[in-house]
C-alpha cells in the first residue's frame, strides 16, 4: 500500500475572492522592467561620463585653439612688425642705393665733352618720391650727335641706364633729356644667373 502525504486539510473558512498566482512566465515582465531600469541607469551613467569627458575635451580644444590663435596673432604682429622693418630697411636700402653721389656722374659728363663741345646747361633733379630716378637735362653746343653718343656712353659706363631719352637739335645746341636709373651690376649678374 502506498499513501502519499499531500496537502494539509485546511478547515479555515474560505475567502471567496482568492485569486490564483500569476503564471511564472509573467515574472519576465517585472524582471524586464528592472533590467530596463538598470540598463537605463548604466547607459545614463556612461553617457553622463562621456558628456563630461566631451565637455572637458571641448574646453581643452577651445583653450588650445585660443592659445594657438593668440600665438598666430602674435606671429602676425611680429610678421607685421618685421614687414614694417623690412619695408623701412628696403626703403632705407633704396634710398641709400639711390642717393649715391652725383659728383662722379657730373665729372664723367664734363670729361666727356670734346674740344669743340661745351655744356650750356646741365640739370640733374632727383625725384622726392623716387630718389633712385634722376631726371637729367643737358643742353650743349655740339656740331654733331657724336658728342651726345659719347656722353651717353660714359653715363652708361657708370651703370646708369637712360629711360625715355629725348634729344632736340637746333641753332647749334643739342638738348638732351632722359631719366637715369642706376643699375647694380652684381644684382644684374645674379638675376641673369637665376634665369
Amino acid at each position: 500500500m502506498q499513501i502519499t502525504e499531500r496537502k494539509i486539510d485546511d478547515f479555515k473558512s474560505d475567502r471567496k475572492d482568492i485569486a490564483p498566482p500569476l503564471p511564472v512566465v509573467l515574472r519576465l515582465v517585472p524582471l524586464l522592467f528592472y533590467c530596463s531600469i538598470a540598463v537605463a541607469v548604466i547607459l545614463s551613467s556612461v553617457f553622463a561620463i562621456q558628456f563630461q569627458m566631451a565637455v572637458q575635451k571641448r574646453d581643452s580644444h577651445k583653450a588650445s585653439t585660443d592659445s594657438l590663435s593668440s600665438q598666430t596673432q602674435d606671429a602676425r604682429n611680429e610678421r607685421a612688425a618685421l614687414e614694417s622693418q623690412i619695408k623701412k630697411a628696403t626703403d632705407t636700402q633704396s634710398w641709400v642705393a639711390s642717393s649715391r653721389p652725383l659728383q662722379p656722374l657730373l665729372v664723367e659728363i664734363t670729361r666727356s665733352m670734346g674740344p669743340r663741345s661745351s655744356i650750356v646747361d646741365l640739370r640733374l633733379d632727383r625725384e622726392t618720391d623716387n630718389p633712385s630716378q634722376i631726371k637729367m637735362g643737358l643742353r650743349m653746343n655740339a656740331d654733331s650727335t657724336k658728342q651726345l653718343d659719347l656722353t651717353v656712353e660714359k653715363i652708361a659706363g657708370l651703370n646708369y641706364r637712360a629711360f625715355s631719352p629725348t634729344q632736340t637739335l637746333g641753332r647749334g645746341e643739342l638738348d638732351y633729356k632722359a631719366t637715369l636709373v642706376h643699375q647694380d651690376p652684381l644684382r644684374q649678374q645674379n638675376e641673369e644667373a637665376q634665369q
Binding site: 502506498q2 494539509i8 485546511d10 478547515f11 473558512s13 515574472r27 522592467f33
Partner: protein, 289 residues
C-alpha cells in the same frame, strides 16, 4: 489596474499564492515572512514562532483559557510575526473515525468542502467540516470531523486578538497522515504493512491498528494528557490483547516525549517500537505542506 496590483507585480507577490490560499503550502505563501503556529487545546494554548527562513522557534505552552491568554499575551505573540499571520492546530473538539464504503469518485476529497453529503452519504451531518484519507487497498477511510461553529469561533477568537488566520488544521490528523505516508511506501499489496500507529499531539491521542494494510480499529481522544503519560497508556492498553503478536508500534508525536517509549514498552512488551517523532515535527510538516 490599480496601483496595488502594479506594486504586487513589481515586488513579485502577484506570482506567489495569497496568504490565505489553502491550496498553497505555507512556505510558498510566506517565503520570507515571520509567522506563528498555535496549538489550541482545552485549557491550553501553545505557540511557536516561525522565522523568515522557515525555521521553527521554541515552543511556549500556557495552561489557561486560550481567550484569556490571547487577551493578555496577544501583543507579545504578535511580535513573533510581521503581519500577524498564523496557523492553528485544533487539538480539541474533533472526531477522527474509521469509515467504510465512502465515495471515492475523482475529486471526492475536494468535494468534501462543497458537497460533503455527496461524498459521505448518510454519515453527513449538517454544520460539520470534514477531511478524508482513503485506504487505497481496502474500502476503509479515516474521517476527520470538525464542528463548523467551533471552527468559526476559533477563527473569530484569533481575529479579535489581532491575528490573521492563514490555516486551521488538526495536528493529530496531520501526524497520523505523516506516519501512514512514512510506513506505507510500496505501491500495491505485495508488501503489506502491519503496525499499530500511536499519535500524540498536545494532549490528543489517536491510535490506529493496521494489519496487512487493512485498517481494523481507530481510537481518537482529545485532551487526554498533560505532563503524565498514564492516561495515554490507560487509553492504549486495551489494544494489546487485540493486536496480532507480530505487529509493531509506530509512534509519532509532535515533539519527542521522553519516557513515553519506555512506558509503551511496558504496556506492549515484546513489540518493536519505531519512533518517528522529531523536534518541532508538527511545525515542520505545516511549513512544508
Amino acid at each position: 489596474m490599480k496601483s496595488i496590483d502594479l506594486k504586487s507585480i513589481l515586488n513579485f507577490s502577484a506570482f506567489r499564492p495569497e496568504p490565505d490560499d489553502p491550496s498553497a503550502s505555507w512556505k510558498k505563501r510566506f517565503p520570507a515572512e515571520k509567522t506563528v503556529f498555535f496549538g489550541l487545546g482545552r485549557g491550553v494554548l501553545t505557540w511557536r514562532g516561525i522565522s523568515r527562513s522557515g525555521n521553527p522557534g521554541d515552543l511556549e505552552i500556557v495552561r489557561a483559557e486560550p481567550k484569556e491568554i490571547l487577551s493578555q499575551s496577544a501583543e507579545h505573540i504578535k511580535s513573533l510575526t510581521e503581519q500577524g499571520w498564523c496557523a492553528i492546530s485544533l487539538n480539541t473538539r474533533y472526531v477522527i473515525s474509521l469509515e467504510t464504503n465512502l465515495s471515492r469518485r475523482t475529486g471526492s476529497e475536494e468535494m468534501l468542502k462543497t458537497n460533503a453529503r455527496g461524498v459521505l452519504g448518510g454519515r453527513y451531518e449538517r454544520g460539520k467540516r470534514y477531511a478524508l484519507t482513503h485506504n487505497p487497498e481496502t474500502n476503509s477511510s479515516i474521517l476527520l470531523t470538525f464542528d463548523e461553529d467551533q471552527t468559526r469561533k476559533t477563527e473569530a477568537l484569533f481575529s479579535e486578538a489581532g491575528f490573521r488566520v492563514g490555516r486551521v488544521c488538526c495536528g493529530a490528523y496531520l501526524l497520523l497522515k505523516h506516519a501512514l505516508a512514512q510506513t506505507n511506501t510500496v505501491k500495491g499489496s505485495e508488501q503489506p504493512v502491519s503496525t499499530f500507529y500511536i499519535v500524540c499531539c498536545e494532549g490528543a491521542v489517536c491510535a490506529l491498528v493496521q494489519d496487512q494494510d487493512r485498517w481494523l480499529e481507530l481510537r481518537s481522544r482529545t485532551d487526554v494528557y498533560e505532563e503524565d503519560f498514564t492516561p495515554i497508556t490507560d487509553l492504549l492498553a486495551p489494544f494489546h490483547s487485540r493486536l496480532s503478536p507480530d505487529i509493531g508500534i509506530t509512534l509519532v508525536c509532535d515533539e519527542p516525549m521522553d519516557g513515553l517509549e519506555d512506558r509503551l514498552a511496558k504496556v506492549f512488551p515484546n513489540r518493536g517500537i519505531t519512533d518517528l517523532s522529531q523536534p518541532a515535527l508538527l511545525a515542520t510538516l505545516m511549513i512544508q505542506n
